[in-house]
Amino acid sequence: MKTLLKNCKIVNHDKITEGNILIDGEIIASVTASADEKADKVIDCKGKYAVPGLIDLHVHFRDPGLEYKEDITSGAKAAVAGGVTAACPMANTKPVNDNRIITEYMIKKAKEDGLIDIFPIGAMTKGMEGEELTEMGDMVEGGAIGFSDDGKPVCSAEVFRRAAEYAAQFGSFVISHAEDKSLAGAGVIHEGEVSAITGLRGIPSESEEVMVARDILMSKLTGAHVHICHISSKGTLELIKWGKSMGYNVTCEVTPHHFTLTDKELLGYDTNCKMNPPLRAQEDVDAMIEGLRNGDIDCIVTDHAPHSRDEKAQEFDLAPFGMTGIQTMLPLSLALVEKGVIDMPAFVRLTSYTPAKLIKKNDRGEIAVGKLADIAIVDPDLEYVFDMELNRSKSVNTPYIGKTLKGAALYTIKSGRVVFEFPTK
């Protein structure tokens, strides 16, 4: 089966070219200027962008164990609707993904659906209890790409050190949800003007920053790659810049909501905007944008965190942290392109090229001959209301539901197959 994508603006991490992409089976067979290739299926992409399928390094698909919020199938459907062709689910499933069997289960289920590839992040410690290391070697062999205890940050610097050292030996890396829980206390939103106004308990930026500092130093100590996930504060970015300038092996990611929304969203006590790390102040959002502009931030991820309606429809303090985001990453990131913060090649670097490099998947992240045909055809100008019909996740805990968004994947192609088409109403 051959598919021809005609007249695309082909975006790679370093340049944009006009041309046609011929897909043969799962692989990109040629990228040419001429359109006379023979194909079984032809899609005219005139005026639209062809970008490498987005790779989301940070999602929660809740499978196994909490499938009422999301499962691998529904998560994958939401993913492709957002142009995402590969995702890395965090280990906080039930049971925790701290062994090869669960890792392999996730990969297999996604393969059977055939919508996206899943590269699981294994737990750093057994049961995510912060004490004993997991069988990282075995899990890497089973397909795990990195290790993290995510929402339960490893308190012990010693344990974190050993995990980083050990993961590195198997060519893997550790991912730090940087948070000093004792400093965050019973906080539910950013400690700032809005927490003072609303009487909602605050989480200071420093609860993130002290752990970022520690984990950068653990990278210094071990030489291992430490990836700081969903950074949210200006101070964190300063620390990461310092770590990089010292030559330590540290990288970081940011979510669209942390470069788009501030804690002002919480003035109305909307639990959909309750997340961890919390939405922070304008100066932090500005810092995130600046970090994306100048390349200090390595990639954009969603931290897609589905929760059921009932769980979010509670007293603010009792509602769980997190919002869905895998379908809104594309429009929110393209908004940066429209504002001139980044250009299209930088968009590709942040959403697929660099993520592929970080997880060492050299078969993707680029539109080039011989690479996997994971491609999103993107219309940056398409405006639409993100409603329940478009939402493919099982959950709807996002402040963007009912809002007008701009920019969408018209087609998502996974391993040469069209797995999503934007619905025409």
Binding site: E191, G192, E193, S195, A196, I197, T198, G199, L200, R201, G202, P204, G268, Y269, D310, A313, Q314, E315, F316, D317, L318
Partner: protein, 316 residues
């Protein structure tokens, strides 16, 4: 009628006119409370449910008396801090109460924002009787009524609020309301009890007890919640009393006729020394009396007014 909202959730969103209307109405109700027969038929046939998800005796009793003096059927529903003890959600609890054709809910809850959350999910009128650290609007109204009775005005007065500002819904409601009415509010307390971003209150944050008290017309001492704040925010009540408590000596720094207030219950010898709490300048018991009048005003305005479907709390 100057108050067209469905609910009374807080002082932050109210206009100066709405606050004054509530105060003026409360002033009229003080007279009923001084009568021999303290009961009017105003809310006869109306059902008021006191939904208390957090323990309270004083506020609940005050609302109960207020409802009864207006001839409303007042029922108390008390539950532990969360309605979910039996697995029922807060909204289900409220919906059940609403189904019994209740007209007004008076709600106290341990979490900030939860009374607004309830108001958004019920057609009944909702009065916030204290939500988490957020607001306690009737307390602010009774504070202002007491001050206005004592000083004859509010505008231009120097009011000091002293104690745990961060964790005080009373302080928040007082600040939002008083600053709108032209009161100069100053705040003071241990640094551990002053929010990091206190500039949002638009008040002067004082550096010493001396600065806080000096020249004040009114001093509001907040209650230290020993059971809640544990040992982290202050080392001991003894030390608190020394540096942050109001003694007769410190009171001399204020205006000679300064009024001393406290939302109660007082930790005697901690935030207020007994000779101040019981002294000539104390307005503490007047606050309690005014509490009933204020709550009658709130119940009356929401209960009698046709304010359903009017401007609601979200309309800002």
């Amino acid at each position: 009628m100057a108050y067209k909202r469905k609910d009374l959730l807080g002082m932050k969103d109210l206009s100066k006119e709405e606050i004054l209307y509530l105060l003026d109405t409360a002033q009229q109700f003080t007279e009923i409370n001084e009568r021999d027969v303290k009961k009017v038929p105003t809310l006869k046939g109306k059902t008021v449910i006191n939904l208390f998800f957090e323990p309270s005796t004083r506020t609940r009793t005050s609302f109960e008396i207020a409802g009864k003096r207006l001839s409303a059927d007042t029922i108390n529903f008390t539950s532990s801090s969360s309605s979910t003890t039996k697995g029922e959600t807060l909204i289900d609890t409220v919906k059940n109460m609403e189904s019994m054709h209740s007209d007004i809910f008076v709600v106290r809850h341990a979490y900030s924002g939860s009374v607004k959350f309830i108001a958004e999910h019920t057609d009944a009128k909702v009065i916030n009787a204290g939500d988490g650290l957020n607001e306690h609007p009737t307390q602010a109204l009774l504070d202002m009524l007491t001050i206005r009775q004592s000083k004859g005005r509010l505008e231009g007065l120097e009011v000091a609020i002293i104690g745990d500002i961060t964790h005080s819904r009373v302080a928040r409601s007082d600040v939002w309301a008083m600053t709108k009415l032209g009161v100069n509010v100053r705040l003071f307390g241990p640094t551990t009890m002053i929010p990091k971003h206190s500039e949002v209150f638009g008040c002067r944050v004082c550096k010493s007890m001396h600065e806080a008290v000096e020249g004040a017309d009114v001093i509001i001492m907040l209650r230290i919640q020993r059971e809640r704040q544990g040992k982290l925010l202050i080392p001991s009540t003894k030390e608190y009393a020394k540096y942050f408590g109001l003694t007769k000596d410190k009171l001399t720094l204020a205006k000679p006729d300064a009024l001393v207030m406290h939302p109660g219950p007082i930790n005697r010898g901690v935030e207020l020394m007994s000779n101040v709490a019981d002294g000539d300048q104390s307005g503490v018991l007047r606050q309690v009396s005014n509490g009933v009048a204020v709550r009658m005003a709130a119940l009356y305005i929401l209960g009698i007014g046709n304010n359903k479907g009017g401007m609601d709390e979200n309309a800002s």
